[in-house]
């Protein structure tokens, strides 16, 4: 007995024990995963289920862009926000009528109450930073020569005039117009900052309850990226509970239709269910969060798990009536299917495991766990299915399966007839079929060139979802609800004590000249401070230390100064303080003017609807200080004047608002950018526009420009995903090819088996390009799925073909046999899985729709590719494929050996590039040498004596 027979024999003999162990393992895993999730406090030693819907986590937490994002958010006290849009399309004054404004006031007051204590920390709405008509300040003229600070809407207005005044005031303030109030006056947006974005669903639900109680003709729209993400998480969880089981039920019904025996059909269901439970259980127990990607693990594992079982049952179905012996039939079935099943599982697993090569953690977790699930499913199939059959009483199987009368039953069913004709067609019209295939490939590549790489978390919802509607309505009325921030930071120069002292004494010397005539005491102390600076600052390490020393020295002098020098030393003290402020670049009028220009460039993209910066605040304050005249909306001429405008601004109710735009050291500033689209593609355009502007207009002082904000993070992970996926796909393609070459002991057969999947992938992605569907995360991930499934069909088809060719001696005679049982199993698989996943199209979340559509397409295309193109190719290449030489070790075939070596080297190179960050230049040289050495090795190996003898002998059987 060989290994496979022994395994089958074991599970048949000990079928009760096998089943018992399986049940116990499953129950254990379920308990380990479920119990800590239900009682997390009691079972702290174990991991409870964690849900993660945050697209930020597409990147590792230590990714520079995320570190910077969090650092800037902290430095500028920025929070993720829930956006509530209130739109009134019916009232002639839009939202600016007493009723609507009263409701907005009430809603704002309600929002302020949405905070809770969690683990001793106050969480929820950050009241001080809430942006609503009643919580923002208005600066305006309070009569001749008077400037006034007041709440924009301290109380809901009572009259039409008062209500319109709110609009008029808000639209005068650039940082409110297009942000808080829409320019058409029909809408107001309330921005509700949260201590943590994970609270957004809770806040969203509370707000929804509240708005339902408000009467009026206005509509309420709640949106914002955190809401979208959090809501997605909740709905994703519901989908997991609905989609996967629905798919299962549909698969079950189809199988029942094909095999008509409930007891037998249940077994693949058990395999699928147990595989899913074990995989998801392992995921939770290992402490990985259930991410949007990992939530799809069950959907990916199920078809693959069912696939192998269908082959077994199909075969069992065909053979059972010949012997009517469960055991004998099963051993025969397993003997035939063991190797193809092992390889199909290994290739699928390899395809998914290759996702570990992408630099995106959730995709890595997804890939590894699906790969694991596939292998679990394989193990269950080979061990449990035979054991399960032993439970089925022979009487129950009495009428099971086809009563095998050769050359007849194949033609009795519709499927049988169609397949038979199809097989004969491929023999007759092999060349036309291949010609059409070539045309399709060319067209597909044209489609691929048109592919649009883009993603947008809001578009994960279907167009009728309230979040999508809110998104559309609000972006129509406002400057955009998608926030990204452009951080401008002053560049720290290297500190050189001599240069510092020179610069300082130069400025002090200017004062000496200035005071010489009128204030000789001052001139003398300014000379003294130069001397002090020169002697005491020789060894200072940095600017801060230098000024600490200087102010200490001056304070000492000031305290001891004789009466006639007090004023002079006071002047020096002020001088030192002024010098210290020299590096506060964001008080420099030239820098602020540059910000304004940059904002103009942002607007010209027509993607940014609105941007707000420190320059806007200063200009507004300046205008109101000068009688509110429009021509005074500008940056004042000196940095002191800028500082005094800032202090004036800080005399309002929201002194802290300044620190959202500049850090207290005035060395970093951020421009708030509102995009009307959350598409990564659009964000990319904005980034490019800014790069271009900076290249053409260098800043007046050295500045560093860095983006942050969720919309920017999205484009970073998308870039990584696109390139990462490509490498992962290349890697898995090579692995699968290598495995195929080894399986068939021939590079030619290896190539052949790669054909259906290559065509499937080209066709699917070509279609994606033609249809204009964005290449987003689910689309990217499905390439691995296509690889895994399409190669399965090819393996089954080619392995069976080769075997049968050996008995029939010519392809012409083999075709009808291949297009009987093996083709039927493939067709059944295609139908069961494709139809099984159609329920995904009903989900309200587009990634699920995408997966459903693409899965069905992948199966269909790869099924057709396998059944049409492979036989046509075999027909054309018959002579080369079936040589007289018998199958021998792969190393004996020089071509196969060299091809395998090249593949292996390429694989190593890709992996090194990905993980060890080795440059391509080096890798190419290294690979070249490696290939040369291996080719020589192959030459020697194929000329070995053993190979020669093998060639001459007639070797039968390949196991």
């Amino acid at each position: 007995m060989n290994l496979k027979q022994r395994i089958t024999d074991f599970s048949i003999r000990h079928y009760k024990a096998v089943t018992g162990v399986l049940v116990m393992t499953t129950v254990m895993v379920m308990l380990l995963a479920a119990v800590p999730s239900i009682w997390p406090e009691t079972f702290t030693a174990f991991n409870a289920i964690k849900i993660d819907t945050d697209p930020e986590n597409m990147l590792p937490a230590d990714e520079p862009v995320r570190v910077f994002h969090n650092q800037m958010k902290k430095e500028l006290s920025l929070y993720d926000m829930v956006v509530v849009g209130i739109v009134n399309e019916t009232h002639p004054d839009g939202v600016f009528n007493p009723q609507t404004l009263a409701n907005i006031y009430e809603l704002t007051e309600f929002a302020k109450t949405l905070h809770w204590t969690e683990e001793g920390r106050e969480v929820g709405v950050v009241e001080v930073d809430l942006i609503a008509p009643s919580t923002v300040d208005n600066i305006e003229q309070g009569g001749p020569g008077v400037v006034k600070f007041e709440w924009l809407m301290p109380q809901p207005p009572q009259t039409k005039e008062q209500a319109l005044a709110v609009r008029q005031k808000a639209q005068r303030i650039p940082f409110l117009n297009g942000t808080l109030v829409s320019e058409d006056g029909k809408a107001i947006c309330i921005y509700i900052p949260l201590t943590d974005k994970h609270l957004s669903y809770r806040v969203y639900s509370e707000l929804q309850k509240k708005t339902a109680t408000l009467s009026g003709d206005e509509a309420y729209h709640i949106t914002g990226l955190p809401v979208a993400e959090d809501t997605f998480g909740v709905e994703m969880f519901m989908q997991m509970a609905i989609s996967a089981p629905t798919a299962m039920v549909v698969i079950f019904l189809l199988m029942l239709l094909f095999f008509r025996k409930l007891v037998v059909v249940i077994s693949p269901m058990i395999v699928a269910m147990v595989s899913v439970i074990l995989t998801m259980g392992a995921l939770i127990i290992a402490g990985f969060p259930v991410h949007i990607m990992s939530s799809m693990i069950p959907i990916f594992i199920m078809p693959i798990a069912v696939l192998d079982s269908i082959h077994i049952i199909s075969e069992f179905f065909e053979l059972y009536q010949q012997t009517k012996d469960r055991r004998k039939t099963m051993i025969r079935v397993m003997d035939e299917l063991f190797v193809p099943m092992l390889y199909t599982s290994l290739t699928s697993a390899a395809g998914f495991a290759s996702l570990a090569l992408t630099p995106i953690p959730p995709v890595q977790v997804f890939g590894i766990f699906v790969a694991m699930g596939v292998m679990v499913a394989w193990l269950l199939t080979v061990i449990f299915i035979p054991a399960y059959i032993m439970f089925v009483k022979p009487q129950t199987l009495e009428k099971f399966g086809a009563v095998h009368i050769p050359d007849q039953d194949e033609h009795t069913t519709l499927m049988g007839r169609i397949l038979h004709r199809m097989g004969m067609g491929t023999y007759r019209w092999a060349k036309p079929i291949l010609a059409v295939t070539v045309i399709i490939i060319v067209a597909a590549f044209y489609g691929i060139s048109k592919i649009n790489i883009n993603d947008n978390p809001v578009k994960w919802f279907s167009p009728t979802h309230p979040i999508r509607i809110a998104d559309k309505v609000l972006n129509d009325h406002f400057g955009g609800t998608y926030m990204a921030y452009l951080a401008l930071s002053a560049v720290d120069k290297e500190f050189v004590p001599e240069a510092f002292v020179n610069n300082f004494t130069q400025h002090a010397e200017n004062r000496v000249v200035e005071y010489k005539a009128d204030w000789p005491e001052a001139a003398s102390v300014f000379i003294e401070i130069q001397r002090m600076a020169t002697t005491s600052l020789k060894n200072v390490q940095n600017r801060q230390e230098a000024f600490r020393i200087l102010s200490g020295l001056v304070d000492e002098k000031l305290n001891q100064a004789p009466d006639n020098l007090v004023d002079a030393w006071d002047e020096v003290s002020l001088f030192v303080a002024e010098q210290k402020q020299q590096n506060q670049v964001f008080k420099d009028p030239a820098v602020l003017a540059y910000q304004t220009q940059l904002q103009q460039a942002l607007l010209e993209t027509h993607i940014v609807g609105k941007s707000t910066s420190l320059a806007d605040i200063i200009s507004t304050v300046h205008r109101e200080l000068f009688e509110g005249k429009d021509d005074q909306y500008r940056i004042p001429d000196s940095s002191s004047a800028v500082a005094q405008c800032m202090m004036t601004y800080q005399s309002g109710h929201r002194a802290g608002d300044l620190w959202h735009f500049v850090t207290p050291d005035y060395r970093k500033s951020s421009i708030w950018t509102q995009l009307t689209s959350g598409d990564n593609r659009d964000m990319t355009k904005v980034v490019k526009a800014v790069d271009k502007f900076i290249a053409e207009n260098p800043p007046p002082v050295p500045l560093k420009f860095e983006w942050f904000g969720l919309n920017y993070i999205n484009i970073i992970w998308q870039d990584k995903m696109t390139s990462g996926m490509l490498q992962a796909f290349a890697g898995s393609f090579l692995v699968v090819f290598l495995m195929m070459t080894i399986l068939f002991r021939s590079a030619l057969w290896g190539f052949l088996s790669m054909i259906p999947l290559t065509i499937t992938i080209a066709a699917i992605y070509g279609a994606v390009g033609f249809v204009g569907k964005d290449y987003d995360m689910p689309v990217a991930v499905l390439s691995s799925m296509a690889l895994g499934l399409a190669v399965d069909f090819a393996i089954h088809f080619l392995a069976r073909s080769r075997e049968m060719y050996a008995s029939f001696g010519s392809w012409e005679k083999t075709v009808p046999v291949i297009f009987a049982e093996p083709a039927r199993a493939i067709t059944r698989n295609v139908i069961v899985i494709a139809v099984g996943f159609l329920p995904l199209l009903l989900a309200p979340l587009t990634p699920y729709n995408t997966v459903g559509t693409l899965l069905a397409s992948i199966l269909l295309v790869s099924g057709v590719a396998t059944l049409l193109i492979l036989p046509s190719l075999v027909r054309v290449l018959e002579k080369r494929l079936f040589t007289d030489k018998k199958v021998q070790g792969a190393s004996c075939n020089c071509v196969t050996c060299v091809v395998s070596s090249v593949t292996m080297v390429a694989l190593v190179a890709i992996t090194l590039h990905q993980y060890a960050a080795v440059g391509w230049g080096q890798l190419v040289w290294f690979s070249f040498v490696a290939i040369l050495v291996l080719a020589l090795g192959c030459g020697f190996l194929s000329r070995r004596k053993k190979c020669k003898t093998l060639n001459e002998q007639e070797v039968t059987g390949n196991d």
């Binding site: 006290s77 309070g142 006034k148 000068f626 005094q644 202090m647 207290p664 050291d665």
Partner: protein, 287 residues
Amino acid sequence: MTKKLLLAIFISIVLWVSGDVVIAETTKTAVPDTLSVDEIVNRTNRVAYYLGSDGSARVKMTITDSQGRQRNRELSILRWDQPNPDLSKEQQGKDDSYCGGQKTYAFFHRPADVSKTVFMVWKYPDKDDDRWMYLPALDLVKRIAATDKRTSFMGSNFFYEDVSGRSPADDTHELVETTKDYYVLKNTPKDSTLVEFSYFKMWIHRESFVVVKTDYYDKQGKKYRTYEALNVENIQGYPTVTKAKMTDLRTGGYTVSEYSQVKYDIGIPESIFTERYLRKPPRKYLK
């Protein structure tokens, strides 16, 4: 010599520990065992805002945000009180219920780029204040409408109203507790639409009438802002808060004000508190 520290500006004073000693020594006036709520309120108001006939001090404000980042302000504050016409010169300040007009002149020394900025207030007993601001870099004197006094004092955690004093007439007062050392007053605004708090509680030292702590509660009854007197000194016989802290419990930011060179009854002329002196600071009083 006598009288107040204008600057102490903030609502009150206290010292939980050593303050008691200072206060006990400085207040010799026998306090009747049972004071009415109004008497407590009036005397507290006088101790907080009306000590002496005038005063000056140098103030250093350190504003610390929730991340520990600090900013400084240094200013000189001059104060002048309108005398009570019903009392003789010696009797001035003895009538707690009298709150006359008051003029304040705040001159900024630092940060350097706002140096020479001046903020001036004329406070009236019966109408809204007049406020002026002089911005030297823009050479601009601007009047600021004072309809709302609960805005930030120059970016600090103190409000203008904390600096200039909230009129006792704006609130109803309730003595909620009398402890061994403190009267605890709960003050509820008469017009709640004008302010952001729903009420505030003051801990008033029973001997000195220095406010040692004030807690502000928001409309949901949650404490969100708190004032503490950190140091009290006896200056010219007046219990003077020389260090005070205002904390914004919502953001975690706080401002500490330290008073030095505190002087009372120096005879600052009323004429200084005029627009003319905004551009020409009275250097003599600002040392």
